[in-house]
């Protein structure tokens, strides 16, 4: 656990233990009192309170900050607890600005500045790159909805879409299970701390997700579940996906919360149509009446997700923070090697050269062949591999780079 992690934890502790609410934080941010410091800990707050006059904070905020500073023991105590659990359970702490912090949240407000993850952290970036689909529904679903959940979850995960759900009983459980069965990546957003198994019946699923997927929470480690947390958890589920699939929703179900969050976050909402005589599906049908999309086939959903991913890709590429760091090949060295001793180039290096060749403009395979001076048979097999990896694509007879190729 490094310094940044501790700072993030302390910040979380202040948020959780003291009475400082979102109004205070908002004021601090709007008035730029926080400045360069994204995650103020006690030290930062102390500084702020000393020069509070400068920021023209309201009286309420000032008192609250002072109260918080007075209860610093409590904060420290909480911090210790969090750190201990996080260490024990190998929980990763991700703050805004980290390369793992969901890019998909960048245009949303009200997202937690710090999230806690248990399991495979790279799934968070997978959502940005391959898209995410959230699947939510009743805890006591009908067989039809369960079947559809399994089907859609499997098909979407086969297309590398990350399946996001809430690890509740019923639909949530099925969505996670089917995704894991299909070898896909799944993400569970839990209401309590991400080490807290809720509901307890899902202990087996929790272990599977920790091993092959990821469990995410905005709550600090060890936080027990109370029912007030559910709506805010629901907002994270929809926020972490490009399309929200409502598999079954009763008239007053929590699933509808997720749907309305999704709509507010401008996510596509798909609703599985079901019988009008089925009480459990009235909520979903009403959503359909209100203009949600009908869930008929995977392709429509996938196309919608892809579209979102494309938008993101363009910006991701532009900002270039995700992939810039992974550059392992120096293209100039490779070019030099191509001139001097092409026989020493390895397959992966040839692939880099091919990608570089088409980075400026799309090229026909014959052109690539001539430019690189590589036998067509070898080039063909490399291109198929690159295509299968999704790094390049065939566009009207010429090859272009996809996001993954950049």
């Amino acid at each position: 656990m490094d310094e940044l992690d501790l700072k993030l934890l302390e910040h979380t502790a202040i948020r959780n233990v003291t009475k400082m609410d979102y109004k205070v934080w908002k004021e601090l941010i709007v008035d730029k009192a926080i400045g360069e410091c994204d995650f103020p800990d006690l030290k930062d707050l102390r500084k702020i309170s000393k020069v509070a006059d400068m920021y023209q904070l309201t009286d309420r905020s000032r008192t609250l900050i002072n109260d918080a500073l007075k209860s610093s023991d409590k904060v420290k105590e909480a911090l210790d607890k969090y750190a201990r659990i996080a260490d024990d359970k190998n929980i990763k702490i991700i703050g805004r600005g980290s390369r793992y912090y969901p890019y998909i949240w960048s245009c949303l407000s009200g997202m937690p500045p710090v999230v806690f993850v248990r399991g495979d952290i790279s799934i968070l970036t997978d959502i940005d790159v391959y898209g995410g689909g959230s699947m939510v529904g009743s805890r006591k679903p009908g067989r039809y909805a369960l079947y559809a959940t399994a089907e859609f979850s499997r098909k979407l995960s086969e297309k590398k879409v990350v399946i996001v759900s809430g690890m509740a009983l019923g639909i949530d459980r099925k969505a996670h299970e089917s995704c894991l069965d299909a070898g896909g990546k799944t993400l569970a957003v839990v209401p309590g701390g991400c080490d807290v198994i809720y509901p307890f019946q899902n202990v087996d699923l929790y272990d599977r997700i920790c091993a092959y997927g990821a469990v995410v929470s905005e709550m600090p480690p060890g936080q027990e579940v109370i029912k007030q947390y559910f709506p805010s958890r629901n907002r994270l589920i929809s926020a972490l996906s490009d399309a929200c699939l409502i598999m079954e929703a009763g008239e007053h179900s929590g699933t509808l919360h997720t749907a309305s969050f999704a709509a507010a976050q401008s996510r596509d909402v798909f609703v599985l149509p079901n019988s009008i005589y089925d009480e459990n599906s009235i909520g979903g049908l009403k959503l359909l009446r209100d203009g949600a999309e009908v869930l008929i086939d995977v392709d429509t959903v996938y196309e919608n997700i892809l579209q979102q991913v494309e938008y993101r890709r363009d910006r991701l590429c532009f900002e270039g923070d995700l992939y810039g760091q992974q550059e392992a090949f120096d293209i100039n060295t490779l070019r030099q090697m191509l001139k001097v001793s092409p026989e020493r180039l390895e397959e992966a290096e040839w692939k880099e050269l091919i990608c570089d060749e088409i980075s400026e403009r799309p090229k026909n395979i014959d052109d690539i062949c001539v430019c690189l001076g590589i036998p067509i048979s070898f080039l063909s097999s490399l291109i198929t591999e690159l295509e299968t990896e999704g790094r390049i694509a065939d566009d009207r007879g010429k090859y272009v780079l996809t996001i993954h190729g950049r």
Partner: protein, 520 residues
């Protein structure tokens, strides 16, 4: 007073549909009023033979025998037709009447049509019929016109041009049969097309090589004039020449298709691989054959060679869809009079077309004026099942004048030879695998074990198919193309790179009808 009836047997053969059948012509002359009967389910073309035989005998210096002449052709339960029975009947009559003296008990084979002046003409489907002719005959007479057919059959026979010649042969006892073989059919290099048309189009050349090496169907997409037709001819050129039995196959189909009377094409005995060209205006009958006449079409004519379908996107749908089954089975089936006939049609199917309406999609710069929808609609004129049968898709584009000048060098010849030897060695490997002339592209069943693809290779092929959305057939086809690539390289076991290379020639977007829209 009962006189001893003299019966003479002469052997011949006829075509029952597409099957050659050996026949026995028995001629008897009994005293009585002059009459002439031919029996044995004969149609009028045989019955008319009397009208031809009588003047021919007289004009060749023989006499029409007096008496009651009966010619019985057996097997007599099969319906027969054709004028090939003229010569055997005439020979039988001459022997029976004692005008020709033959050692008793000799086997005579004869066939041919007789003209009024005694000249002997060939009859259709000789190549197939003569294959039946065995060496046990003492005398084998064939019309001079059928010499080529005899060469296909590897027959020992004496070609005769007229009844006069026949007479001389017997009078001077100068029966001197010739052994017909295909040995002297040489390689004529002249017809090999010029490689310059596809120079610089590495992918297309490679695809052509693979197609030739494994008999894979191939689609060439390119702008007008970029050398697609030439590419098809090159394909036929880089294949090794026909072997003996294949020459016979090709020749007999050409015969059956009536090319003999075709002034343009003619009937040539050659070891060239057939290169047949079909275009959108052709009727279904021309392409697949006419069942009522049992006439083979271009499909059967292209057997062992190349069938080039130009402007594949412009065919009428019904014609194109009718090609599906023959393309898959490599056989054209016909039925006539309740009987089924099959013409083998194992060839490399080369389809060519423009990639879009204006044809310029693959050209450099932004010369294509088609919208994505137009491109999409254009490509989808070809139905999914047809696209699925195309193992290789290669894009072509016109090459610049500079490279054209460069390519008109002597290097082309060397390239031809090099490619031909590659194809030859690949064929050798396939021969060991499948026996006979079956190839990776045409064999009906090819499992991973036979193709020698390890589980790693199969898994990789599955991965590619998954990513590109191929059908089960598509998966199998890339394995086959991969196998051919391995054959070209001379590898016993397939490796991952083979399948990977095969993947580039199979376009998922194209097959699934999503061309024109941005690849995602």
């Amino acid at each position: 007073m009962a006189s001893k009836v003299k019966i003479v047997k002469v052997y011949t053969s006829f075509m029952d549909g597409m099957t050659p059948v050996n026949a026995e012509v028995e001629v008897s002359i009994t005293p009585g009023l002059p009459s002439f009967d031919v029996i044995g389910l004969c149609d009028s073309s045989i019955k008319e033979s009397r009208g031809r035989i009588q003047p021919a005998l007289i004009s060749s210096g023989y006499q029409m025998p007096k008496g009651h002449i009966t010619a019985s052709i057996s097997p007599s339960y099969i319906k027969k037709s054709g004028t090939g029975f003229d010569l055997p009947i005439a020979v039988g009559m001459l022997i029976a009447s004692g005008q020709l003296s033959v050692k008793k008990g000799s086997f005579i084979y004869a066939s041919g049509e007789i003209k009024l002046d005694g000249t002997i003409k060939g009859t259709p489907s000789a190549a197939l019929r003569l294959r039946l002719c065995k060496d046990e005959y003492d005398y084998v007479f064939i019309p001079s016109e059928e010499e080529d057919a005899a060469r296909c059959a590897g027959l020992t026979a004496m070609p005769i041009g007229s009844l006069t010649m026949l007479r001389e042969t017997f009078e001077e006892s100068s029966y001197n049969p010739m052994r017909f073989t295909l040995d002297d059919i040489g390689d004529d290099e002249e017809y090999l097309p010029d490689f310059s048309a596809v120079k610089g189009q590495e992918k297309a050349i490679r695809a052509l090589l693979i197609a030739a090496a494994g008999f894979h169907n191939i689609l060439l997409l390119g702008s007008p004039g970029c050398g697609k037709t030439m590419a098809g001819k090159i394909l036929a050129g880089i294949m090794p020449p026909l072997n003996g039995s294949e020459i016979g196959d090709v020749y007999s189909v050409m015969e059956a298709a009536g090319l003999k009377d075709d002034p343009e094409e003619g009937l040539i005995l050659s070891d060239r691989r057939p290169f047949r060209y079909i275009y959108p205006g052709m009727s279904r009958g021309r392409i697949l054959g006419i069942p009522s006449k049992l006439m083979p079409g271009e499909f059967a004519l292209a057997n062992h060679g190349v069938l080039f379908a130009d402007e594949i996107f412009e065919y009428k749908r019904e014609v194109l869809e009718a090609l599906r089954i023959p393309l898959e089975d490599h056989v054209v089936r016909m039925s006539k009079d309740g009987r089924n006939f099959a013409f083998p049609a194992s060839f490399v199917f080369v389809a060519a077309g423009n990639p879009c309406k204006c044809g310029m999609l693959y050209e450099e710069g932004r010369r294509c004026t088609c919208t994505p929808t137009i491109i999409h609609n254009y490509m989808n004129k070809l139905s999914g099942p047809i696209k699925d049968r195309l193992d290789l898709v290669a894009e072509m584009r016109s090459i610049s004048g500079k490279s054209m000048a460069e390519s008109a060098s002597s290097e082309n010849k060397r390239m031809n030879e090099e490619m031909r030897s590659l194809v030859k060695s690949a064929w050798q490997m396939q021969k060991e695998r499948f026996n006979d002339s079956i190839f990776n592209g045409t064999c009906l069943n090819a499992d991973a074990e036979l193709l020698r693809a390890g589980s790693e290779v199969v898994n990789y092929a599955a991965e590619i198919s998954e990513a590109a959305g191929f059908s089960a057939r598509g998966f199998n086809r890339i394995l086959r193309v991969g196998r051919t690539i391995a054959d070209i390289a001379g590898r016993e076991d397939m490796c991952k790179a083979d399948v990977a290379e095969a993947g580039i020639y199979r376009k998922g977007d194209f097959i699934n009808g999503r061309v024109g829209f941005k690849a995602s």
